[in-house]
Symmetry: C2
Subunit: 360 residues, 2 copies
Amino acid sequence: MVEKTNAIEHRAPSGGDPSVIGVVGLGLIGGSLARRLVDRGRTVVAWNHRPHPYEQARRDGIICEDSLAGLVAANPDVLVLCNPLKAMPAILAELKPLLDACPNVTLTDVGSVKGMVREQVEAAGLGSRYVGAHPMAGNERSGWSAADPHLYDDALWAITVDADTAYDRFLAVARFVVDAVGDRAIVLDDDTHDRAAALISHMPHAVATALINELVDDPIRNIAAALAAGSWRDMTRVALTDPDRTRAMIEEDAANVETLLRHMATRLNAVADQLHDGDADALTEFFAAGQPFRDYKAAANTRKDISDAAAGQAESAATQPLAIPHDGWQRALLESALRGEHIVAVVDDREMRVSVRSRV
Amino acid sequence: MVEKTNAIEHRAPSGGDPSVIGVVGLGLIGGSLARRLVDRGRTVVAWNHRPHPYEQARRDGIICEDSLAGLVAANPDVLVLCNPLKAMPAILAELKPLLDACPNVTLTDVGSVKGMVREQVEAAGLGSRYVGAHPMAGNERSGWSAADPHLYDDALWAITVDADTAYDRFLAVARFVVDAVGDRAIVLDDDTHDRAAALISHMPHAVATALINELVDDPIRNIAAALAAGSWRDMTRVALTDPDRTRAMIEEDAANVETLLRHMATRLNAVADQLHDGDADALTEFFAAGQPFRDYKAAANTRKDISDAAAGQAESAATQPLAIPHDGWQRALLESALRGEHIVAVVDDREMRVSVRSRV
């Protein structure tokens, strides 16, 4: 069931209280977010499926509620779903009547695959309240005990919208990311996000797994493992961590990963052909083709080498205004992201500031 | 031209002076080796194609010769070729008459591809003097200025032999690696070495390059690059360093890399099919297949977590003797390597001690 924006649910322009944020789930991502928001002077109301983090969380200044009803009753401007994806349908079903009674609350999440979350939110009848979000933050730990506000230091968030997204719902989430959390944002449609995530994460995880499978299947595996050095270690690291989680991540983004794995297979067979034929020109072209990414990384590393103060100045000097049109605002924001720009400030309802960064 | 062992060239059982090592080339690998050997009380005689490292090298206790003739005249037990592969034919041609006059000197090298070096050595008429070697040591720097004896700390060397290798030539190189350098060794034929190197290094370098090419060719490349995190950084790091050097490395081991790239393409297409078909069982199997390598790494990490002293004791407790038969010694040593054993001591002419390590 796809719910469209309707007059009753459309919140008043004033929105909820922007100083109050609701957080569902106090794991690594939600717990770190809640602690950071408290550090930055926001009121955070949280609910966790089990109360074990509450004692420490309350000492950290987080208001912990025993029910989702209590959480929604606090009338947060934005309610951030940081629960595991598998808990999403049950939580959305419980939230639906609560949010119907609190039209100001905008719903967002932190999931790493956006198309599937939007489908679940729409199935729950909450599509008009929802703007997707995915912070580029995390590490290999998990749970409240690993929560760290610095996880979000200088993090980039992907905010995902679709053609039906209400602009002021988007604006509430943009302000949450940029003002409340103090991070940067790009704005995408779900498909662009999920294709990009497949390219830089989900597909490479499958490639890393194929590499260790290739070793395991080789009779000289112990010799190969003994000779392995930094290149092998780096390229297989992600194949070592929790294969069930990796499998779930890949299955959630299956169509994009499938396409990219076929692209990679075609590329690897082409190099094999070039080696077979001794085609030096084609091999030279294969190694030259990635140069724009090498140049991009070199520029990024140069930027990191200069002092923090100088980097701050350079960053500040390299921002520019981005006016947001009433019609086609989604497209205008996507085109900014395609140009490699990141939103660093929400100036007013119709103007952002974007940083202009190195481009591939 | 393939030179076989002949009576004239076969050195006396006493060999050269095992306390004297010759080093050709004072770059990162040769310079680090020379400095380590001096630190360990050996006499090191070195030659470099340009004399610029000599002043510092002499201060470090390395005897620097102005010619290869001077180097060979010092009658080193082992002469280690640490020059670039492209200089190999010219250096071997110059060494041939010099080594003909010094039958005790055993020739070895540190190249990362062994089949090609043996072909060059045999073409120069020095096959009967040669035992291949490849230390698992190095970093992304180069040149004498980066030389560091600690580069060889606890390093594993692959020693490569063929059916025609004289046992005492092998023994000279084994003693050089284990006694003089103080490292560990496994003994392989060239093909096994080059296939293993293709599996854990050369092929993955091509895969990493294909990954960055895939990004560069995608219209959403700037978005993907912005969203990239640790998994992408690790899997593409080796694609960023000197593509010409990577191309040369892959071309030197072309046949093995070709085969492995086709294996990988087949694996990636199979996963794409499984995702297309929603074949959960096959995907589960794909992620389970690499478990022996995950277990091997977990065991290795546990070993590193225990204290150095305890690790030393455990290592010492886990060594065992390996008797070397007169007939089929190459096969006996290869089988030891296939079992994951590393040579840690040369007890006498016919007995090694091997450490018994975790196996994949």
